[in-house]
Symmetry: C2
Subunit: 281 residues, 2 copies
């Protein structure tokens, strides 16, 4: 299976996938890195507020932070209705941006507004051209081809714990969940992975991000990213399960990666920033 | 390593380890099984309330349930101070019991009261003689040799997430955490396992129990038991970590086992109640 998996080719722009509640007032470690990847003091950042009904406040907040971090220009792109995603004035902002940032809110709003629009095509074109795409919370959830649209938080997996839908598809063969430690979402991610076999799960804590470049991801921030690998795992027959019944899963592999740790999406191997990793036994 | 591990020998009584909040009003699946293991309608059950300051109400509640389930006799043993654990009248109840049940509360209270007492010796003697020992919540936490005395709930492990102390030692080479899904305690259990290498972790959901007999455990109830196997895992150098810093862990194995599923503590292999387990790929 592994050799057929296509993640990101190296020529595409990096992804900055944030687990929500990132620091916007102190060190701004994560957003600072996003600005750096967008070109630093030459960065032109487009902030996409499609996820949120509070687009004015949210847009203003990221305008403030990115400007403070030294970006050359910040433009907020409000797309509240599908027609806005074909607005030539808004498309021009994205066409000129060196970095695109999706705010938090509700991931389903983003898809409803952006799907099958000129904006969608343009975002993928810009990404292929090397532009960095960032997103926090709902803005992180939309990164993969398939996303967790909704779901209960629970540590043991059961069939109706999650609802899946189409994502933006910047990242393939990976599922993303956010606010991971803070909302105890392992069960929800495990369930999602049972429904989408062969993909990797990525649970990102608050104020923590995963930066994907090519086949490698690196963790930055305060918490950890939990990589859930169900290749080699087995589970009970989902078609025989009733709603609310617990699933059985044998042999899931977990890696918990704090700041500086890396993971190769192709080989599915974690690696350490230094030589500090010692065998436990 | 595995061949040197001694779990339970078969002649010892079963353990019924409950993740808290077990049903006491409807089917009573778990408590019913405890009564059955204690001898059914011939059961003499000693309810130990050492964990709780609300010993009167808690004792009365379990007296009601066990009586209703058909136990021949239920005696509540209140040991609030270490001296109570040497009281001949209370010891006689335990000496005659066919089942001993530890209520919830605070696990540290149990150890403070029972440690180094005649009651402690007697409990181990009765267990060796085949008497079933049950416990819920704090009463589950005390089962192993080493217990999680206190700790934050968080999915990513960090060094001060847990405080370990001595448990009752009915079960060896296993760590137990309760209210597992409900309180998002994977991080706390992972941290505890990093501090106690080579043991297995057992996270038990609410209204769910693990029944240990010899080397085998079986899950009953509504949720699941999560078995965390860190043999083969590696982690960063704990001695170099500061408080609150996230730990890195590579290659933890997880098994999530609902009602009817089993796990062999010696071989560390899960097994299925039926033939429903299919490979995922």
């Amino acid at each position: 299976m592994a050799q057929s998996i296509e993640y990101q080719d190296q020529s595409k722009g990096p992804l900055v996938i944030i687990g929500g509640a990132e620091d916007r007032d102190e060190d701004c470690t994560i957003l600072r890195e996003f600005v750096r990847l967008a070109g630093g003091t030459k960065a032109h950042i487009a902030v996409l507020t499609a996820a949120t009904a509070y687009f004015e406040e949210t847009g203003a907040e990221y305008d403030r932070v990115f400007t403070q971090l030294g970006a050359a220009a910040v433009d907020v792109v409000h797309t509240q209705e599908p027609k806005d995603a074909n607005d030539p004035r808004l498309l021009e902002i994205v066409a000129d941006a060196t970095g695109v940032f999706f705010t938090g809110g509700d991931q389903s709003r983003v898809i409803r507004v952006v799907q099958d629009s000129l904006l969608e095509d343009l975002l993928h074109k810009r990404h292929r051209e090397g532009v960095v795409i960032g997103g926090t919370s709902a803005g992180a959830a939309i990164m993969p081809e398939v996303m967790i649209a909704e779901g209960d938080s629970t540590t043991h997996p059961y069939l109706n714990a999650v609802e899946m839908s189409q994502g933006m598809g910047f990242l393939t063969q990976v599922l993303v969940d956010q606010h991971f430690a803070q909302r105890g979402r392992l069960g929800r991610l495990l369930t999602a992975l049972l429904l989408e076999p062969s993909v990797l799960g990525l649970g990102i804590d608050e104020n923590t991000a995963v930066i994907v470049q090519g086949d490698t991801l690196e963790v930055i921030g305060e918490g950890a990213a939990t990589v859930v690998d169900e290749s080699g795992a087995s589970h009970n027959n989902l078609s025989q399960l009733l709603r609310d019944e617990a699933m059985a899963v044998f042999g899931v592999r977990l890696h918990i990666l704090p700041h500086g740790y890396r993971f190769n999406l192709k080989t599915r191997q974690p690696s350490t920033p230094a030589d500090s990793l010692i065998p436990e036994h």
